[in-house]
């Protein structure tokens, strides 16, 4: 048996929810479109003396929704805890987060390499933003609290990801699910979705060298005695490259008989390398304790029913249904839409298209290439079908009517007819095109070809 270094990755993904107001106060939650710094602030999100937090109900509901979409169990009794550390962008000296009772736990995300367990999904508040710049020749650090206390969901995976490609797929899938629920824009450029990978390597037996999935390796739950945290990555491509670089770097260290140091590293896209950001000498002590300002949250059956009421069909379920019923490939379907509402719109469209016995695969193709003159998700599905018909008219011309055009084309293009008869079948493309031009219509190629062949061979 061959032994190889196998990478083990656990992901921590932060997603900013797009609720109207912030997590614990009434301030507007729109840090990316604020005209100026510190305009969406109040005593609560600035940590003023005597200010008290009030939890955003919608944010809790959305977190539970996400948990359900990830197949998580839901803690019916949950609470918020204070996580203490000092940083200029953290106005209270603690972040309100969840420690031992997250809203959701024990879920799963399917990838083509195998499933990835979700350890937990919890809700917390975002911090302010530090801006370092030079003003009048002096280096200064400025703080913008527009982002302070924006609802932030953290999704923690089990260390069950075994390649850079699987990590990328996992993260993309996660974004797809979050967008489908329409609870976040997941703008990675601006930090609306933030990726962190915990990466380490260990020796592992190769069981099935030809396998493309995780069954290739003999996997054990035992984790290596170190891990490297790769942080502040704002694209899936950089995530994949960063991990590739880390695998190479860590392997070299391990092969030289040393152990990589436990640290946080960043990724430099220009140089395509990772670099040390912070070395953690010991585990941080956040002195968690339940926030006495926020009573525990009980999610009773009634509330749970309300949350589930407008809970959409799962994305995987929707894709599977479309594939069986309409023969739409999932990898094409996912290019078409993001949110559940959009999915529902398409579902209606496909249903009607199917009822009218129009070809759906062609429609999907045209939708992807934006060739149907319709405002997706805004116009009615009926209008979209009308436009689709205009793009690919098939049925509004009879064979008899066509025959007139065919006869005309064949009589004026005798050479092409002779060529075809002598075996140069490629000339058919020309003939079909000429007939369409005469008819001033788009006609299904196969149908026309059949009619032309029939005429030629008469």
């Amino acid at each position: 048996m061959e032994n190889k270094y196998q990478v083990i990755i656990g992901m921590e993904v932060h997603v900013e929810l797009k609720t109207n107001s912030k997590m614990f106060c009434g301030c507007k939650n729109d840090p990316f479109h604020a005209g100026k710094p510190n305009i969406y602030t109040c005593p609560v999100c600035l940590g003023f003396p005597g200010a008290l937090p009030v939890a955003n109900k919608k944010a809790i509901e959305w977190t539970v929704k996400l948990g359900l979409a990830l197949g998580c169990k839901i803690n019916k009794f949950s609470k918020f805890d204070r996580k203490h550390y000092f940083y200029p962008d953290l106005p209270k000296g603690y972040q309100i987060s969840q420690y031992d009772l997250p809203f959701c736990y024990d879920g799963k995300v399917e990838t083509s390499f195998g499933p990835v367990g979700i350890t937990r999904v919890h809700l917390e508040e975002d911090t302010g933003k530090l801006i370092h710049q030079k003003i009048a020749g002096r280096d200064v650090s400025l703080i913008d609290f527009n982002r302070s206390s924006v609802p932030l969901v953290e999704i923690v995976s089990e260390p069950e990801i075994y390649s850079s490609a699987q990590t990328k797929e996992y993260a993309k899938k996660l974004r797809q699910i979050v967008r489908y629920l329409d609870i976040s824009d997941c703008d990675m450029e601006k930090g609306g979705m933030r990726l962190e990978a915990n990466i380490s390597l260990k020796k592992s037996e190769i069981l099935n060298p030809k396998s493309e999935t995780n069954s290739k390796f003999k996997l054990s739950k035992e984790l290596p005695n170190y891990k490297v945290e790769l942080k502040n990555i704002n694209s899936f491509r950089f995530l994949e490259r960063g991990i590739e670089y880390e695998i190479k770097r860590q392997k070299e260290i391990l092969e030289s008989g040393k152990t990589p140091i436990q640290e946080t590293r960043g990724y430099n896209a220009e140089k395509n390398i990772t670099y040390t950001q912070r070395t953690k000498e010991s585990a941080a002590d956040y002195r968690y304790f339940p926030d006495p300002d926020l009573p525990p949250i009980r999610i009773d059956d009634q509330w749970m029913d309300e949350i589930k009421k407008d809970f959409p069909e799962s994305l995987d379920g929707l894709f599977a249904r479309w594939q069986t019923k309409y023969n739409i490939k999932p990898e094409l379907a996912e290019l078409l839409f993001e949110t559940n509402q959009e999915g529902q719109w398409l579902n209606k469209l496909f249903k009607k298209t199917y009822e009218q016995k129009l070809p759906i695969d062609k429609m999907v193709n045209l939708l992807i290439h934006k060739k149907i003159k319709t405002v997706l998700f805004k116009d009615s599905p009926n209008k979209a079908i009308e436009e689709y018909k205009k793009t690919t008219v098939i049925d509004d011309i009879t064979d008899e009517q066509l025959k007139v055009f065919i006869d005309k084309v064949l009589s004026t293009n005798q050479k092409a007819v002779t060529d075809y008869k002598s075996g140069k079948t490629a000339v058919m493309n020309f003939l079909v095109g000429m007939v369409m031009r005469e008819a001033k219509k788009k006609i299904e190629f196969k149908r026309l070809e059949k009619l032309i062949v029939k005429e030629i061979s008469k």
Partner: protein, 471 residues
């Protein structure tokens, strides 16, 4: 002296135009000017011209249906945010802090038409029971200037005791209203946790902090509680429980009701003279038809340890925001007492210690709650001393940290339970006031007032004035 009269009398005289708010405000300032340089009840006093102008408007706009506290001067502990008016919480870090918003309790009082005279002295952040730990001038007991007035709401207690204001708003975490009320011979209420909004109260220990009224009598308190209570959508820990008409129940007999004396509160450590005073009070209640029994609260002897582990943990967290980035002075301005409390709290929450300290204390807090609930199944209210000893000499507690901590034995333990407790004058020992607390079921404030009011009909301790006022 007008301010010696009850809120009800003052309101009636004002409405009959026999006196004016201007008279009351003038009297407030006259008392302050005469006495406060010796007592240090106030940290910040409002400009007299401004308040007189306000009084003039109140006198003009007063209607028959105006609130009972309309046009009355009042003061508030400096722990409450008052919009654009200096708020220090007794410490120098916030020496020049002018809050951008107001505490709910302050808004409620102002909306009822009262006139703020000033902000009262306190132990910085509420850290203390003597008002010596203020970063401003240590306050003095009006009954004996060499002694402490109690704390941390020492300022309000002095101001009421010396009739600088007819009422004030204090804050009680582990005795901060009851203790100075007892030492200065006034009436004060620690409310049920959740009864009054905490929004705008500069937090000491959030799970115990409670906002309550301080005044000359139980009758006055009953009016005030109704005004300041109720659900606040901006304080998640405030209760939706219906606010009662507390005044209406006053005068109803307590005949047949049962008073429990917790054995553990009358043992070694309690000053014998204070003990005697309180036992005498039980005779009055018996005369009123109540029955006295003994009850057990066995784990309350650990109350002080549990109390301190929790409040110091919470205060270490609550004070983390004073990093001087957004407002306030540098952290060096924290006093030694506060630094000590932050360090102890940080320790109790630290990994490896929090299981043994903070979490264990939380578990024991649940045990205390059960014991207290069991005790109150056997009786209507509990009667207990407020302080283990008579008011100490100034400086004594600072030099004896253990004694300082034990001062909270009878009050901090009750705070852990979240129960309401009414502190009223019960007599004197060596010329110094001795208070007692009547402790009730959660949200049972009305019943406490019922007991306290009848007691004050039978006694006149609460009417006695400190010698500093002269004759």
């Amino acid at each position: 002296m007008l301010i010696d009269k009850s809120i009800k009398e003052l309101s009636s005289l004002l409405k009959k135009k026999e006196i004016s708010s201007i008279d009351l405000v003038r009297e407030s300032y006259s008392q302050i000017e005469k006495l406060d340089n010796k007592l240090h009840s106030f940290i910040t006093i409002r400009d007299k011209k401004e308040t007189l102008k306000e009084a003039e408007v109140k006198d003009k706009e007063r209607k028959d249906e105006s609130s009972i506290i309309y046009g009355l001067p009042f003061s508030i502990k400096d722990a409450y945010c008052t919009k654009n008016f200096r708020t220090t919480a007794g410490n120098k870090i916030l020496d020049d802090f002018y809050p951008p918003y107001s505490a709910t309790v302050y808004k409620k009082i102002i909306n009822s038409g009262s006139i703020l005279i000033g902000k009262n002295n306190m132990d910085a952040w509420g850290h203390g029971g003597s008002t010596e730990n203020t970063d401003y001038q240590p306050a003095h007991n009006p009954w004996d200037l060499t002694r402490i007035p109690g704390g941390s709401s020492g300022g309000p207690a002095i101001a009421i005791s010396t009739r600088m204001v007819p009422f004030s708003i204090g804050e009680d975490t582990g005795g901060s209203i009851r203790n100075p009320s007892s030492m200065c011979n006034i009436s004060g209420l620690k409310v049920t946790y959740g009864r009054v909004s905490r929004l705008g109260n500069i937090a000491y220990a959030s799970s115990l902090d409670s906002v309550g009224p301080m005044a000359k009598s139980v009758e006055d308190l009953s009016f005030l509680l109704e005004i300041i209570s109720g659900k606040d959508n901006y304080d998640s820990t405030s209760s939706r429980k219906q606010v009662e008409n507390y005044n209406q129940i006053l005068g109803e007999p307590i005949k047949g009701k049962i008073i429990g004396l917790p054995k553990e509160f009358f043992r070694k450590g309690l000053d014998l003279k204070a003990k005697g005073t309180i036992l005498k009070a039980t005779k009055i209640f018996e005369k009123l038809g109540a029955k006295i029994i003994e009850v057990n609260l066995p784990h309350f002897i650990y109350g002080v340890s549990i109390y301190y582990l929790i409040v110091l943990s919470e205060t270490s967290s609550n004070l983390g925001r004073y990093d001087s980035f957004r407002y306030g002075g540098e952290r060096e301005l924290f006093s030694d007492e506060t630094k000590k409390r932050i360090i102890l709290g940080t320790y109790a929450l630290s990994a490896g210690y929090s299981d043994k300290l903070y979490k264990k204390a939380q578990k024991l807090r649940t045990v205390l709650i059960e014991e207290y609930e069991n005790a109150l199944k056997k009786c209507n209210v509990l009667l207990a001393p407020v302080n283990p000893s008579l008011p100490s000499k100034i400086g004594e507690l600072i030099n004896d940290p253990l004694k300082n901590i034990l001062e909270d034995l009878y009050t901090g333990t009750i705070s852990l339970v979240g129960a309401p407790s009414l502190s009223i004058p019960a007599g004197f020992a060596e010329g110094l006031p001795v208070g007692m607390q009547i402790i009730g079921k959660k949200f049972g404030e009305a019943e406490l007032f019922q007991f306290g009011y009848l007691y004050q009909q039978e006694t006149d301790w609460h009417k006695r004035l400190p010698p500093i006022l002269g004759k």
